[in-house]
């Protein structure tokens, strides 16, 4: 697999680690245990296109949100995580 890191360009799979589904969003403080349980444990586990968190640990250490097809491994988009590139957001 090759992943086009938005910062480094195309790199090989070995530089990255996959964490898993990026769809579940960590519930805010004060969320119920059921909501947190859902976030931590339940997965759509899609056979097809899905978005995932990947870490470019063997490169620029950016966390990425990758849209990938689990049937073909084809990657259709790679975006930086929300907190990457924060230096360029309005203060």
């Amino acid at each position: 697999m090759r992943i086009v890191c938005p910062f480094c360009g195309e790199r090989e799979l070995g530089e990255f680690t996959c964490l898993g589904d990026a769809k579940p969003v960590r519930p805010a403080a004060g969320a119920s245990a059921d909501e947190v349980f859902d976030y931590v444990y339940l997965r759509d586990n899609v056979a097809g296109e899905t978005s995932e968190h990947w870490y470019h640990g063997g490169g620029c250490r950016a966390w990425l949100k990758i849209t990938r097809n689990t049937l073909t491994h084809e990657i259709s988009s790679v975006e930086p995580a929300a907190g990457v590139g924060a230096a360029k957001v309005g203060a």
Partner: protein, 417 residues
């Protein structure tokens, strides 16, 4: 027809023209007491136990392709019961005991070969963890031995003892562990279940569930029409989430690819099953002579049944680190299976929140060894509506309760289990 050397000899006179189908080629009927989705080892074993132990013979096993086409036919054939946590030890030992009588039970040679499984350790900490595990096994009445370096050297003189990055210090041995012929397990259960009246239906893909007004599952829609069912059991590891989604369920499961490899056939080179404790590599040698080996999952969700090179290289690096004598042995085939990776690395066998729908899932990469045990306890659940005592901890709600069975201690991250 009963299989034996005598029936073989008799058949030889007729040029083997007298053999019947190993299992009946059944077409779906309108309704069954129990419909099992998934014609792999677990589904077929469940059907056989339903028929043989629980007297429920009006059973269909639905397989979307050919039986054994999922993980039953693409695993590395290891059987063992060397688990360390309550819940797992008892269950896998139940399974091991069923392996030990399988051929006689089924009248089919599944080549259960108890040549031993050894987990090598390379540090004091690893030795201590194996000691804890081995003692759990012993306390549960399972055979286990902790070998020191000298004993390992004697048993496997070909390992790299001299210039290894992580020298072997010893190993945890289960002599009753070993391998079995995976396809034969599938065919044997199909053969025996079919003989008891179970319909084994191939090329029959489940496309949806039939529900009554209360939401209870009363049957399945399939590529070969609607089939009514008193109860429906899912044994579709690798596709559990996809099938469960048809009933509106989300599971604590991710699908991951695990690669496996076999070398060219060579004369006997290694005894039993070995796992490398300092890398991702385990290996056994098949009766045909190929080294059957594997390692870690690729680490990303996949339904593609094929993996990539980094893991392939990682596995071979482990192999060469452990026993550099395999350098000139050639890797012949590489393939991948879809693993139902659960959130604690242990299986789920339970009723689902949907009435009439029963779940057998989350086997991670330990499903093959569980085949007979899984069949028995799932049959028990389907027949009695209560968990078998050896599967009492494999409940679906354990994650919500915090009662995980996490052998590796890595938590809710399936790709680390």
């Amino acid at each position: 027809m009963k299989y034996s050397i005598f029936s073989l000899a008799r058949a030889a006179f007729s040029g083997h023209k007298t053999w019947q189908r190993t299992w009946r080629d059944a077409s779906p009927r309108d309704r069954y007491d129990v419909v099992i989705i998934g014609g792999g080892g677990h589904g077929l074993a469940t059907a056989w136990f339903l028929a043989s132990e629980y007297g429920i013979r009006n059973v269909a096993v639905l397989e979307k392709g050919w039986i054994g086409s999922g993980n039953a036919g693409r695993n590395t054939t290891i059987i063992r019961s060397n688990y360390g946590l309550p819940g797992n030890s008892g269950f896998y030992e139940l399974s091991m005991k069923l392996w030990e009588r399988m051929e006689q039970d089924l009248n089919y040679n599944t080549m259960v070969s108890q040549r031993g499984v050894i987990n090598l350790y390379h540090s004091d900490a690893q030795r201590d963890a194996y000691a804890r595990r081995g003692n759990t096994m012993r306390i549960n009445g399972i055979d286990a031995e902790l070998l020191d370096l000298a004993a390992v050297r004697k048993m496997m003189p070909f390992l790299n003892f001299d210039n290894a990055r992580f020298p072997v210090q010893g190993g945890l041995l289960q002599r009753r562990g070993g391998t079995a012929r995976h396809d034969a397990v599938v065919w044997g259960y199909a053969h025996a279940a079919s003989a008891l009246g179970v319909d084994v239906i191939q090329n029959c893909e489940v496309t949806g569930f039939v529900r009554d007004a209360n939401g209870k599952v009363t049957g399945v829609e399939t590529s070969r029409g609607k089939i009514g069912a008193g109860k429906v059991g899912m044994a579709v590891a690798g596709s559990s989430s996809r099938v469960a989604a048809m009933a509106g369920l989300r599971l604590p499961i991710e699908s991951h690819v695990l690669q496996a490899f076999v070398s060219e056939a060579i004369k006997p080179l290694i005894p039993g099953v070995m796992t490398f404790g300092a890398g991702h590599f385990y290996v056994s040698q098949s009766d045909k002579g190929g080294l059957v080996f594997g390692g870690d999952i690729d680490g990303y969700n996949s339904y593609a049944q094929r993996g990539n090179m980094p893991v392939m290289e990682d596995v071979c690096e482990g192999g060469m680190a452990l026993m550099p004598m395999i350098g000139r042995v050639r890797l012949l085939r590489q393939w991948g299976g879809i693993m139902d990776m659960s959130m604690d690395g242990s299986p789920i066998i339970d009723k689902t929140p949907v009435d009439g729908l029963y779940l057998n899932a989350g086997w991670c990469y330990g499903g093959f060894k569980a085949t007979p045990g899984s069949g028995l306890v799932f049959a028990h659940l389907l027949a009695r509506d209560a968990p078998h005592e050896e599967a009492a901890r494999f409940r679906l709600d354990r994650f919500r309760r915090g009662a995980m069975i996490d052998e590796k201690g890595v938590g809710a991250q399936p790709n680390l289990h």
